[in-house]
């Protein structure tokens, strides 16, 4: 999978929600299209799970379905009480995964 793009503020205030943006390049093949040349169904190949963890604890997760468009973009809010590392993981139908890490400083 391609390298994801993640945007989080470097410094956040304890207990105050901050926005996280996450974008990854993926074709998100729905499994419902037919290859015109062969007449065969193009097999489904989508990212099915996204997880965001703060120091190992899940703070946000999502399951994706075939209607999600290519290059899925997510924006969500997280609250942190102490500094730590945010880890983001995308997993697709082939079992392939992509990971991004961001350190946040909480004051």
């Amino acid at each position: 999978m391609d390298k994801p793009r993640v945007k989080v503020p470097k410094k956040v205030k304890a207990g105050e929600p901050f926005e996280v943006k996450a974008l990854i390049s993926h074709k998100m093949e729905s499994g419902q299209r037919t290859d015109e040349a062969t007449g065969q169904k193009i097999p489904r190949m989508i990212i099915n799970t996204f997880t965001a963890k703060l120091d190992g604890e899940v703070v946000f997760s999502a399951r994706f379905y075939p209607a999600v468009s290519a290059n899925p973009y997510l924006a969500f809010w997280v609250v942190a009480d102490k500094s730590g590392e945010l880890e983001f993981t995308w997993v697709d139908d082939s079992g392939d995964s992509a990971t991004a890490k961001k350190t946040i400083e909480v004051s």
Binding site: R5, K7, K21, S69, N71
Partner: protein, 268 residues
């Protein structure tokens, strides 16, 4: 009570629509609209689409800008050199390049566009295989190079040796074609702003290409877009990179002269 509430909300609903339309018409489009009435496709896009383009993060076109930046430094071919070995830093050396293409290439005695120039560099200087049209690396490099001119006015040269090619491109634009017997002018000049089924017709300005198109779910070249237009009027299409389309590209660049390069734009 329930009836009264319903009546109030119905009045609000009726009043809201004209107000929204009026606000849209009075919009100040800044550099996206010129005094002579020419407007970027940006001004015809939905507000959500414009917001997506404006946010460098949310704009999926930047995926290709980043891929292009990586390829720029990657050595390829028998000579073992990368773009950066000759051209240095793209933000400096490529600034303004995308705003003036396509240009007349004396060695070919015809016009050459950005994609073709990139492949010329690859085959003649790097000893590498040319990238196929609409392939990921060619889209990424074209987007990356043109992005360096973002915000600069489109400024093609149409006189001198380019003049006959410009005229050919203009003739293509004005010629009726296909089973629907339509020329580009019929949609993009005479009916710009009107609805074509569920889509608002723009003036067909080329200043945002390569463009991330939501319908395609990927970034695409101007030639891919032109092919789509030709197919829509049930006309013969030409190959991407064909002389017909490169000449048309110069005419389109002239139509968009003065509008800012938006690459990567986002459109529906």
């Amino acid at each position: 009570m329930r009836t009264a509430l319903f009546a109030v909300s119905a009045v609000v609903a009726v009043l809201r629509l004209p107000a929204a339309v009026a606000a849209d018409a009075a919009e100040d489009w800044g550099p996206y609209a010129l005094e002579d009435g020419r407007r970027s496709g940006y001004t015809y896009a939905a507000s959500e689409t414009r917001a997506m383009q404006d946010d460098e993060f949310e704009n999926s076109g930047y995926i290709w800008v980043e891929k292009g930046a990586e390829l720029w430094d990657e050595a390829d071919g028998s000579v073992g050199q990368a773009c950066s070995d000759c051209h240095g830093d793209a933000p400096e050396s490529m600034r303004g390049v995308g705003a003036r293409y396509p240009v007349f290439a004396p060695e070919r005695e015809k016009l050459i566009n950005l994609e073709q120039r990139i492949n010329q560099c690859r085959t003649e200087r790097m000893g590498a295989e040319p990238w196929t049209w609409e392939s990921e690396p060619l889209l990424a490099m074209t987007t990356y190079v043109r992005h360096q001119s973002q915000g600069m006015p489109v400024s093609p040269v149409i006189d001198g040796p380019a003049a006959p090619f410009f005229e050919t491109g203009k003739a293509f634009y004005e010629k009726r074609r296909g089973q629907l017997d339509l020329a580009c002018v019929h949609c993009h000049e005479m009916n710009a702003g009107n609805m074509l089924r569920a889509q608002r017709l723009s003036q067909g300005m080329s200043n945002g290409f390569p463009t991330y198109r939501l319908k395609w779910q990927t970034i695409g070249s101007l030639h891919r877009r032109i092919r789509g237009c030709n197919e829509d009027v049930r006309a013969e299409t030409y190959a991407p990179g064909s002389d017909e389309y490169v000449n048309l590209e110069l005419y389109l660049a002239w139509r968009a002269r003065g509008l800012p390069v938006e690459t990567p734009a986002v459109r529906n």
